[in-house]
Amino acid sequence: MRQVTGLILLLVLVALLVWGVLPPIMRDFGYPPSDMDDYIIENAQEETGSNNVVAAVLFDYRALDTLGEATILFTAVMGVLLLLRTLKRKEESS
């Protein structure tokens, strides 16, 4: 019973997602609206000096996202090392 209800609701959600991204509802693939991106592609070289526009977006236009992303990596490393730590305290020799 639970399985069937779950499956039906899951199918409903997937159908909605699929319906939402198909042409009459969603714009066509390959023809995006591009005000912001056109500005970035045109001006990235002058404003940041970088030939790689993606790098310019990552480290200049949306640099806080990249700082956040590096922070998330740092967080995960700290988390993994925290969880896999030794639980015995070393004899403190001070």
């Binding site: 000096g49 030939n51 790689n52 993994v80």
Partner: protein, 153 residues
């Protein structure tokens, strides 16, 4: 620990992986790639070493304390570069127009110049350092823990 052939080949191969990774990091602002991608390439080399030798052997040369310091340093360099622009605005690209990485390329398609990009190449290096240290530490910690070894505090 795997057979001697594997270990010898891995020993030779790590150099090339290291060079390729560093190349990808250094050219992040003119060709596809960057700090994350190059760092991931180098970490794949570390994983190769981990498979070829064992976590016990690798622990002798890659200490987790050192990795932790490296990672914090990389993150701090990144944050410091962001703070350095605070004279105008946080994250301001203050090196554009200066002699250090400050050249501005001719707009439009071109051959690419390594001395461009302002703080972007420096940030790529900081992120690369961080990714190398961080992912190596994760892989090493999980391998050590699974084989019953002690993980450093």
């Amino acid at each position: 620990m795997l057979s001697k052939i594997v270990r010898t080949v891995a020993n030779q191969l790590i150099l090339f992986i290291l060079i390729f990774g560093l190349y990808v990091i250094a050219h992040g602002h003119i060709t596809p790639g960057g700090g994350f991608q190059g760092g991931a390439i180098i970490v794949s080399g570390v994983i190769m070493l981990l498979v070829a030798f064992s976590s016990k052997e690798l622990k002798k040369s890659l200490r987790e304390r050192v990795l932790s310091i490296m990672e914090s340093t990389g993150a701090l360099i990144f944050a410091a570069l962001a703070f350095a622009g605070i004279g105008t605005v946080f994250f301001y690209n203050f090196l554009v127009g200066t002699p250090i990485f400050g050249r501005i390329p001719v707009p439009g398609p071109g051959p690419g110049d390594i001395w461009t990009g302002g703080v972007i190449p420096l940030m790529n290096f900081a992120v690369g350092l961080k990714v190398i240290a961080g992912l190596s530490a994760v892989v090493l910690a999980i391998a050590l823990f699974s084989s019953g070894e002690e993980v450093e505090e």
